[in-house]
């Protein structure tokens, strides 16, 4: 699936839920299903600053593509990370760096989260983008 198709899929999935509590339920499910992140790698270096909850994000490069993994001590944040990973993991650095990450706004995540959380979201996106730029 192309990056554009995948983004559209996430937007469609998310728009099925009208109520915010249902959207949270969905994010909580995604968060719970996120692939485990090794405890030993929850280092200060992998910690993303700017979040009220703690978020660790790491990636590796395989066959010219970037694969992300992440964790958080807050489950809704974890759900959001899961969304981001499902969209951007397995893409080339060029694809990621060239994207505008606008879909996050389209699903209403940015404005409907608290400012501190929105900051966290911005930090997560910045970290993914920076990883891609470093790998080009």
């Amino acid at each position: 699936m192309s990056l554009e198709e995948k983004k559209q899929e996430v937007i469609d999935d998310f728009s099925m839920y009208e109520e915010w509590l249902d959207k949270y339920e969905y994010l909580i499910e995604l968060g719970k299903a996120l692939e485990p992140y090794p405890e030993g790698e929850k280092t200060e270096e992998k910690l993303i600053k700017g979040c009220q909850s703690r978020v660790w994000l790491d990636y590796e490069r395989k066959d010219g593509k970037l694969y992300f993994r992440a964790d958080s001590d807050a489950i809704i944040t974890k759900g959001i990370i899961s969304l981001l990973i499902s969209v951007y993991s397995g893409r080339t650095p060029e694809e990621i760096a060239g994207d505008d990450f606008g879909f996050v706004e389209q699903i209403g995540l940015r404005e409907n989260l608290s400012p501190t959380r929105a900051n966290g979201l911005v930090s997560m996106i910045a970290t993914i983008r920076r990883a891609a730029e470093e790998q080009i």
Binding site: W20, Y24, Q52
Partner: protein
């Protein structure tokens, strides 16, 4: 006054968020403002907007009168001995910084000691750390017990010949327990040590009498007592304020300015440099009158007490909840509840409650040392004001339970 009647004075409390009635439980951070305060702010901006203390024209005279009348209102609110002991600031943070800076400049030297408690807000820690770094002084910490009670009996041991000042909260913004400040002040004074009381929470919930307390400084913010943001007060005993150098230089705070040497205005003007917040400070008259009337209203007092008991009882019922600041023995608790829920992150809970219409605070509450003391990364805090109802308390308990079950 019945709570419902009191509530109607505050337009924000009739708002809806996400289609649900707003239940505002973040009062320890900012309280809502009554219509009278909002009207006063607008009226001053529209009709008396002129620099105070200088010009002779009508607008300036009106503005000055309103501003100085507020000083009298604050003097009465704190039961201070004289109006000159009341300094207007932008908030508690500025008030404490002023004392740390100016008292520190005059009286703190290398090797001297300052005592704060582990339960202080960052605003009552960092200004003292800055002072200590500047003067090579030492910051000592009064600890608390596992329930959040200050270990006041160990204060005597912490005080030494080098102790220059003790800075302590009247009520912690996390624990909600009323500290025995009168005892602390008495102990400190026996050793000749002055005490600053951070009254950011205390001024909202307790009748403050600075003369009876005999505190040397008392600081509070307008925005937590139904007043405008950017308004604050520092009460200081005359002997200290007169002995302290100015905080900032500028207009208003001077007597004469010459390149050969400048002399300063008498207190409180010495500490009020530059154009003051004359459009908003006078709105404190209404907000403080309202705060005072709440504190003596039997129905409101009863309601606050009932809410406190009800929430304490319900939080205690749930074994997953760990409350910080548990009232025992003679400790009094205000309706402010900080806690963690095992297996549910405070931020997740706050986000879900928000979507149910409930505004609570999550995070470190500007008290990282206290978070470390209890070994947590943050807490959830629900802080009630006199305008919150028992129905809101019950709705909060119900929604909290639902939020927890969504997460666990």
């Amino acid at each position: 006054m019945v709570v419902q009647e009191f509530r109607r004075l505050f337009p924000a409390l009739g708002e809806r968020v996400y289609g649900k009635p707003l239940v505002y439980l973040d009062n320890a951070a900012t309280s809502q403002r009554p219509q009278t305060v909002l009207d006063k702010q607008r009226e001053l901006a529209a009709r008396s907007n002129a620099n105070i203390h200088r010009a002779v024209h009508k607008l300036a005279v009106d503005a000055t009168e309103e501003y100085e009348k507020t000083r009298d209102a604050v003097k009465d609110f704190l039961h201070a001995g004289s109006r000159e002991e009341i300094v207007f600031t932008s908030g508690t943070t500025m008030s404490i910084n002023l004392v740390a800076s100016c008292f520190g400049e005059a009286f703190v030297h290398e090797g001297d000691e300052i005592i704060v408690s582990v339960a202080e807000h960052h605003s009552n820690i960092v200004p003292w750390q800055l002072l200590c770094a500047r003067k090579k002084a030492v910051l000592k910490v009064l600890e608390i017990d596992e329930f959040g009670g200050l270990l006041t009996e160990s204060l005597e041991k912490l005080i030494s010949q080098r102790t220059k000042i003790i800075a302590i909260a009247h009520i912690s913004n996390v624990l909600g327990l009323v500290n025995p400040v009168a005892d602390i002040i008495a102990t400190a004074h026996r050793h000749g040590v002055p005490v600053l009381v951070d009254g950011a929470q205390g001024s909202v919930h307790e009748v403050v009498d600075v003369q009876a307390l005999d505190c040397d400084f008392y600081a509070f913010s307008g925005h937590k007592v139904y007043g405008p943001t950017g308004t604050g007060v520092l009460y200081g005993k005359r002997k200290w304020l007169e002995a302290m150098p100015p905080y900032m230089g500028g207009g208003e705070m001077i007597e004469t300015v010459r390149f050969s040497g400048t002399t300063y205005a008498p207190i409180p003007g010495k500490f009020e440099a530059g154009t003051q917040n004359f459009n908003t400070i006078p709105a404190l008259q209404d907000s403080l009158a309202l705060a005072k009337s709440c504190m003596s209203d039997p129905e409101i007092i009863e309601n606050q007490k009932n809410i406190t008991e009800y929430i304490l009882e319900n939080l205690a019922k749930d074994p997953r909840i760990r409350l910080f600041g548990v009232p025992r023995g003679t400790w009094t608790k205000i309706p402010l509840f900080s806690f963690v829920v095992e297996g549910a992150h405070h931020e997740d809970l706050a986000l879900i409650l928000d979507k149910m219409g409930i505004a609570v605070r999550s995070g470190q509450m500007c008290a990282e040392p206290l978070m470390d003391r209890f070994g947590v990364t943050g807490m959830l805090r629900a802080s009630f004001a006199p305008y919150n109802t028992m129905e809101e308390a019950a709705y909060f308990v119900k929604c909290l339970d639902k939020a927890i079950s969504m997460l666990i």
